[in-house]
């Protein structure tokens, strides 16, 4: 008990000093081809809103996979919520992911279940009592503007609505960090803006938000921190930054 408390304090101190996400000289190579990430260092502090931008093959997706512990870095250290991803045991991965809300470009919803079941599923895996699930799910669906569609099958929803369901699912367990991988990639401009506004509201409520995107208009308009990647390295990291074109 005392040891656990000590570890918790150590992690809190680490987060205070290095942020909720900390990459220190991280490289990732696959068995074939050039390294996907080449010695990148990045710190994201609690409550920040960060855009990660870059062309295809710049290493953005690899970065997200490292944060989700889907991949392990070939070199350097990746820490999420003060935990060293390389030292994380397999059975500890689910616990880490419950602290990370994730939203994907292709929504990744369980298409054989309705909206309510998709969102409730995230609560069931952390064994929230049924009574609380019945209270929490309608509340989060109302937050993302889908209160009236809880019975609908996900396949009956528009792209924007499906992404809202994915957002609701990502948020229902109050994650410390929300990772959004191209959340507007499959959406029209209006829905894209709606989703970004929701992400901003979530961030204002205290959640750290990391958005990987190609959407220049949104990045330039929102005036948030922008980390630009190219060929596996960070070429720019600016507060209130803008989308840097390849030619720039």
């Amino acid at each position: 008990m005392r040891r656990k408390e000590a570890i918790r304090k150590q992690q809190a101190k680490f987060i205070e000093e290095n942020g909720v996400i900390c990459l220190d000289n991280v490289s990732k190579s696959y068995s074939t081809g050039s390294p996907a990430l080449n010695g990148i260092s990045l710190k994201v502090h609690r409550g920040e809103f960060v855009f990660i931008v870059g062309d295809s093959g710049s290493g953005k997706s690899t970065l997200i996979k490292l944060l989700l512990r889907e991949l392990v870095a070939s070199a350097g250290q990746v820490s999420v919520m003060g935990k060293d991803m390389a030292k994380l045991r397999r059975r500890e991965i689910p616990k880490l992911r419950r602290n990370l809300g994730v939203v994907f470009q292709d929504f990744r919803l369980l298409n054989d279940r309705n909206v309510y079941e998709n969102v409730a599923f995230a609560q069931r895996i952390i064994e929230v009592p049924g009574r609380e699930i019945r209270r929490n799910v309608p509340a989060i669906l109302a937050t993302v503007g889908l209160a009236g569609k809880y019975k609908a099958k996900t396949t009956q929803l528009s792209g924007g609505e499906q992404q809202r369901v994915a957002l609701a699912r990502a948020l229902i367990n109050n994650p410390s960090i929300l990772l959004a991988d191209e959340p507007t990639g499959n959406l029209d401009p209006k829905n894209s803006w709606d989703i970004m506004k929701l992400l901003e509201e979530i961030n204002e409520a205290g959640t750290t938000v990391v958005v990987v995107t190609h959407n220049r208009e949104i990045v330039n308009a929102m005036q948030k921190r922008v980390v630009t990647m190219k060929k596996g390295v960070i070429i720019s990291d600016e507060e209130e930054g803008a989308y840097i074109d390849d030619e720039d």
Partner: protein
């Protein structure tokens, strides 16, 4: 694990059956077809062996004694034969019983007319032991032993019948073992392939669950339960069908082949299904369990 999670897992296992109804139907059909063949084959082989065994039980060896042998020595020989492991029963037939049986068989209703020509028992030295064997393949060993006993004049037996039955029994044993092994191997292959394909289709679903923080157990349990349910249903259907057919065949044989009733002796359904039910259910559920657990494991590394 909380009780609510336990019930959720069970509920999801059942729901999965209906969510993927075509896959479930395909898997159930595969399991049913394989276990149906297995059940039919087992019922045929078990009955055939039962009939051969019945024929074997009627095979006997007759032991005649030397002239002038004492009753005490006959009794002693009887005990020696009874002590043999290959012997199931020894019946003593006195000279008078032998003569009475002879009259019954050969003279029939005209016995009184014929025995007038025999003032004394012509079979006065033909008292004998009728020895039934527990294992017909041991007949030659027993006959050799019987000839070695002092006081034994003649041993009458049918070497051809015994060796034929013993050979047939051995052949049935080997052939049925071979076919059952092949059938089970084919069943395991087909069923695990069907389960594998079904779960591979849901790789995406498993990935999503893992991304949002589900433990391996939470992901695996409903799939494993689903696999076991498919196995259970897939085994129960052929059991019911074979049971139904078996009863019908027994009724049909009793009605149409009543003259062969002493040859066509079928095993009762309880005996056949006392073996088939646990084996089929075990194979069905076992294959569903192993197939689903190994397939889900492949997709868990996300």
């Amino acid at each position: 694990m909380k009780i609510s999670t336990f019930f959720y897992t069970i509920q999801q296992g059942f729901k999965n059956l209906f969510r993927n109804k075509w896959y479930s139907l395909a898997s159930i059909a595969t399991i049913s077809a394989c276990l149906f063949l297995f059940g039919i084959f087992y019922a045929i082989v078990a009955n055939f062996q039962y009939m051969v065994k019945g024929a074997e039980e009627n095979i006997c060896v007759t032991v005649f004694f030397e002239e002038g042998i004492t009753d005490a020595r006959i009794e002693e020989i009887g005990k020696m034969i009874s002590n043999r492991t290959e012997v199931s029963e020894v019946v003593y037939i006195s000279a008078e019983e032998a003569w009475a049986d002879y009259q019954k068989i050969y003279f029939g209703d005209r016995a009184e007319e014929f025995i007038a020509g025999y003032p004394t028992n012509p079979l006065y030295r033909d008292m004998n032991y009728v020895v039934y064997l527990s294992d017909v393949s041991m007949q030659d060993t027993l006959v050799t032993y019987l000839y070695s006993i002092e006081g034994v004049r003649l041993v009458r037996y049918s070497a051809l019948t015994a060796s034929t039955l013993s050979g047939v029994n051995l052949l049935i044993g080997y052939v049925s073992l071979g076919i059952i092994v092949v059938l089970l191997a084919v069943s395991v292959f087909l069923i695990s392939n069907t389960v594998t394909i079904g779960i591979s289709v849901r790789r995406e679903e498993i990935n999503i669950m893992k991304y949002i923080g589900a433990t391996d157990f939470f992901v695996r349990a409903p799939f494993v339960l689903e696999g076991m349910l498919i196995g259970l249903i897939g085994a129960a259907i052929p059991l019911w069908v074979v049971h139904y057919f078996y009863g019908s065949v027994l009724d049909y044989a009793a009605e149409k082949f009543s003259m062969l009733s002493h040859l066509l002796i079928f095993l009762p359904a309880e005996t056949i299904f006392g073996f088939l039910t646990p084996v089929c259910l075990g194979v069905g559920v076992g294959i569903g369990f192993v197939g689903s657990i190994s397939t889900v494991r492949k997709h868990l590394h996300v």
